[in-house]
Amino acid sequence: MTQLADKIEDMTMSEGPAWFEDFRAAGREQHERVGFPAANDERWRFTNIGPVTKTQFGIAEAASGGDMFDHYTFGKDAGVELVFVNGFYSPELSKIETLPKGLSVNTLADAASNGHADIIRQHLGKQADLTQHPFVAINTAHLRDGAFIHLKRSTTVEAPIHLLFISIGSDQPVASHPRVLVVAEDNVEATIVESYVGEGKQYLCNAVTEVICGRDCRIDHCKLQMESVDSYHTAVMQVEIGKHTQFVSHAISIGAKISRNDLGVKLAGQASYATLNGLVLLSGSQHCDNHTMLDHASPDCPSHELYKHVLSEKSSAVFKGQILVRQIAQRTNAKQSSKSLLLSDTASMNSMPALEIYADDVKCTHGSTIGPIDDELVFYLRSRGVGFEAARHLLTYAFAADVTRRIKVVPVRRRVEDFMARQHGLPQDLRINDLGAFDEAVIR
């Protein structure tokens, strides 16, 4: 057995109903069977997960969120905010007092024990397949707590629902395995934000999020990953959407030494629509791997995907964008684009579109650009008096702003803007809107 699994049996599983143990047992079995991704596993080709698999992680203990909470809470911008520290729910930091009608938000363990057992059993583990993802198996083996969001038919929630996962690393490597389940019935509108933040030394945050949407929904999802740069972050998010539902995802990866996101959306209902936008901002020797999968399983579905990467120093990133168009999915219109700005000679990018098409009446386009900042643009700015560094920073900011400006959740957009302003020595109060209109082409 691997080192991670050794620890599983020692855990005290105090939270959650007894039947969580069935899930954990299935996760353990699967993990014992397959272990970690092997070095020759194609899906992990450009990401060396060795540092994670070779580390003996203990189970994280409850801790106080402290500064991290103050820094990342949405405050009054969030309608609901569930806060977890090292995987443990913090009722003191959370805000769930006034829920709009039709919305229930709770910890997964509490919801499963009190009143929502049936719906959780019906959906948990159905989207994120533990046989497909080694890290889903590990997450499931550690199933203890997380968040459960249920949106009843015809519910509209204006303010974002914020799930804040704080990790506090210590001298001993620890791991937490948050689990999120979102069930939206028909005709629901909501914005859900997952923030993964942390500080301190090598910890692992291994999250799994499952989202099931009915028909005629509009779900906006943001994931802001600003983990400690000494940490590891692995996350699988699997979404299924029904007829006429629009799902929009913004995935921002800024932190962690090594991070890996597997984001899958199944367009299960006719004329459903998925938008996947991503922004990766790395420096030092950080590495981030985004694998996305758009599963066109119904006719008349558009999908749009735009992933942008800004890589400086020795950082590296991977983008693999899979689009599966099943035979039934006629009149699919899928557009994928990956753009990467390399700010140093030592930064590197691997971008791989992977289209698998079984229907005959489809429109699929994909494009990928990787390159340094265009010298001519820099010279243009300099010829007007703007300094060399300022010109590069401004162009980098504008490149990323193409994604940032699309983020509707203000506290998330602000945090990304502030991060870039700090990193690029731009005015702290610089807002995307100050810069003006956008598109591509900053890259040569």
Partner: protein, 258 residues
């Protein structure tokens, strides 16, 4: 003191080692308009870019004096802050950056360099409105990304507008007339003339392939550039002569005099 003095300037493309400028000599007095004419590939644009400090080119010999001081060791932004402005032949599009933001950054970088206080938002808008009025340029320019989706004419007008706001000591107009129809050309030329009339301290180096721009911007001096050298200098009548007889006779004359 001349505003610009170019002495025996030699420059090559840094990457390919291709020699473009092969000994350019040129002297411009303050307040003058000079035109450089020449065929495609004669080195006119390269000369502009070298004066502006483009690092794509490597100066192998010679010197450029601006107001009596060599600018050879200065970066492009330092030259701009000292008062050199290059209006591009092909202005680039800068997605995601509005003209307003970019231009304010430029103006303030120049002001800081001169030890002047930065303009706040209100004073900047005032300055912009004043220049827009003078040039008859619509305001929507400011909130659009720099040149993005602009027509050729709009891009050139944006160059002249930026030039007006920055108000340099020396304006280098690199083929500002190329790709413009006659109406757009007139607007651009009128803009330059207004700037010139307003302030006779400013000097202009107009690079063009055709004589027609010089009907509107009347030069004091006309230079003819061939194969990386200025081979003939005269008054505005030289431009008319070139239009009539082409460039070949200048070339023959030059060869004959060697």
């Amino acid at each position: 003191m001349p505003v610009l003095e170019i002495k025996n300037l030699h420059a090559k493309v840094a990457e390919t080692e291709k020699q473009i400028l092969k000994g350019v000599d040129l002297t411009m007095e303050k307040g003058q308009i000079h035109a450089i004419m020449g065929k495609n590939g004669s080195g006119k644009s390269t000369l502009c870019q070298v004066i502006a400090g483009r690092e794509t080119y490597e100066v192998t010999e010679g010197d450029i004096l601006f107001n009596g001081h060599s600018i050879m060791e200065m970066s492009a932004e330092e030259r701009a802050r000292e008062g050199v402005f290059l209006a591009f032949q092909y202005p680039v599009e800068i997605p995601g950056v509005s003209t307003s933001y970019f231009l304010k950054a430029a103006v303030n970088a120049i002001r800081i360099h001169r030890g002047e206080p930065e303009l706040d938002a209100v004073s900047f808008i005032k300055l912009v409105k004043e220049k827009q009025k003078m040039l008859g340029i619509q305001e929507s320019f400011m909130n659009r990304a720099v040149n993005e989706g602009f027509s050729g004419g709009e891009k050139k007008r944006n160059e002249v507008f930026q030039l007006a706001v920055v108000n340099p000591l020396l304006g280098l107009l690199d083929e500002t007339d190329s790709g413009l129809d006659i109406d757009a050309l007139k607007i651009v030329a009128e803009g330059i003339n207004k700037l010139h009339e307003q302030d006779h301290e400013r000097s202009w180096l107009v690079v063009t392939h055709y004589q027609r721009l010089l009907n509107y911007i009347v030069p004091d001096i006309v230079h003819v550039m061939i194969d990386g050298r200025i081979i003939k200098t005269g008054d505005k009548n030289l431009a008319l002569e070139l239009e009539e007889k082409g460039y070949d006779w200048v070339e023959r004359d030059a060869l004959a005099s060697v």
